[in-house]
Amino acid sequence: MSPRYGLRTFGLELVMIAAAVAFLFPVYALITMSLKDPRQIAESPLGLPTSPKTDNYANAWTRAEIGPALMNSTVITVVSLIGLIAIGSLAAYYLSRQATRLGYGMYMLFLLGIVLPFQLGMIPLFKLVDAAGLLGGYPGIILFYTGVQLPFTIFLYTGFVRALPADYANAALIDGAGHFRAFTQVVFPLLRPITGTVLILNAVFIWNDLLTPLLYLAGSTRETVPVRIFAFVGQYVSDNGLVFAGLVLASLPILAVFLVLQKYVIKGFASGLKG
């Protein structure tokens, strides 16, 4: 880091801002297009919209049926996150306080899940979910996300717990609390920073996933936002303004969550690095 803000730093600032502007061009195209009608798009594909049309948004909202899809995505994401955080933090706590070979082996078994491509188990699992009568509903897909994201969740939690002094939990145990109570009332609150990271990274993955809901939910009333948008884009492929308004609407919720929690995301990577 240079000691003070000199001419060199100013030059770097200009270069970085220029990079950001180039980087943001697709976003500019997205937003300006979403405010044009087909005639304006044909006349000036890259210009600013002459008379911004907001009815693209109203039309996309109703025609893509984004309302119900938002509801489905929210239920699936929130319940999966609760499951992941509950059983993931509990398991990671056990694994990081367990110095035996069994504990280490179990940890490695979980880490294997980060490397293993889900495609390998995709068909057997699909058959399993089908046989259990869970296609087209919430429980099957929630179970899927909880299982598939456990390795990453446990990886993040374990790295964090290892750096946490055991004294707090031990004090509670000596005071007569059971292990479960010591965990829920003493240890879990101390995990808040990493829980924030686990929350946002898993939320991004679950909210954005296309393939699984396409397999498990397509055609049902439980379709998620990416599945709705996928169908919507196919249907209105010629009306770019409408399609782009749909893309903006579908991306806003996760972007809003990111902007609120972005500090956790960026810090969380640092603790993941140590793990």
Binding site: S2, T9, A19, L46, G83, L125, H179, F230, S251, V265
Partner: protein
């Protein structure tokens, strides 16, 4: 915040008491270890959703199952079919090319961005958020957006920009040209995830002690020398994680290809993931599809093992 907790415990743990006290503490710790059933719910869900299906997939890979009829063992037939079929072989090559391009360019740009925003520039916190934001948006949305950026029309999207800045000669049919489609997909993925690499490099850069830089500066080291001999070695853990994540991500890439080109034109941008998806859910060749998935899994496992072995070797402890 997390880093202070980490270093505080590290110092405490590094100073063990005398023998008797350590023994007592060890016995005490065993008494205070949480019970095994803390891991049971996670293990049950993980076994059901990940382990069992993966094992079953390995078995299916040696059968001719079509999803309905009976399963007959066919030995290595699926694998010889994969390596004999020209389009499948092409998808194998495409997957590798795509992964190499993504790993090199995404991490290169990510490192430059990280070095840029890890300075005194005033816009650094805004720029961090701007560069990382595309990574939180669904890859499918990004693919649809980039389908427009790659519009073949001469005055729209990227072609329009090239024309406007006087580089009209570079206009291309980005996704329609078989020689170009794969690289266009790579460009889109790199745009989306360069900020992701940046954030991991940033976390690494923040772990480089400022005193080391000052010491090197006093010794007369220039900018490049300081980067080469101070920053780079200490950045090794970040490099390891970035290379692993982008390699695994590149090898498994599905959503972006499926939504942007669906493997086309022809088979020009087909990857292992899109081929195995089509074999399973379009043609009903479940056995063949899981064989492709097994090849993919072996690729990912081999590459990550080599990377862990090779890269961990050059890491130094900060």
């Amino acid at each position: 915040m997390t880093s202070t907790i980490g270093s505080a415990t590290a110092t405490k743990g590094a100073a063990p008491g005398p023998g008797a006290a350590a023994r007592r503490r060890r016995r005490g710790r065993r008494f205070l270890t949480p019970p095994w059933w803390f891991a049971a719910p996670a293990l049950a869900v993980y076994a059901l959703v990940v382990l069992y299906p993966a094992l079953a997939g390995m078995v299916y890979a040696f059968t001719d199952w079509n999803g309905l009829g009976e399963r007959n063992f066919v030995g290595l037939d699926n694998f010889s079919r994969l390596f004999g079929d020209e389009s499948a072989r092409g998808s194998l090559l495409n997957t590798l090319l795509l992964t190499v391009a993504i790993v090199l360019v995404q991490n290169g740009i990510g490192l430059l961005l990280a070095l840029g925003v890890h300075t005194r520039i005033k816009s650094r916190s805004v720029l961090r958020v701007v560069f990382f934001a595309p990574a939180v948006v669904s890859p499918v949305m990004v693919a649809f957006l980039w389908k427009y950026i790659y519009n073949p029309a001469p005055d729209a999207g990227l072609n329009g920009i090239l024309g406007a800045v006087g580089l009209g000669g570079l206009r291309q049919d980005w996704l329609g040209d078989p020689g170009l489609a794969l690289w266009s997909v790579a460009g889109m993925v790199i745009w989306q995830f360069a900020g992701y690499s940046m954030v991991i490099f940033l976390a690494g850069l923040e772990g480089v002690p400022a005193e080391l830089h000052e010491a090197a500066m006093i010794d007369g080291a220039g900018r490049w020398q300081r980067f080469r001999h101070v920053t780079w070695p200490l950045l090794a853990p970040a490099v390891t994680i970035n290379l692993m994540l982008s390699t695994i991500g590149g090898l498994k890439l599905f959503d972006q290809v499926y939504a942007a080109t669906n493997g086309g034109p022809g088979y020009a941008s087909e990857t292992l993931s899109t081929v195995l998806y089509k074999q399973a859910f379009v043609f009903g060749n479940f056995g063949y599809s899981t064989a492709i998935a097994l090849v993919l899994a072996l690729f990912v496992a081999a590459v990550s093992m080599v990377q862990v072995y090779y890269l961990r070797g050059r890491e130094v402890s900060g």
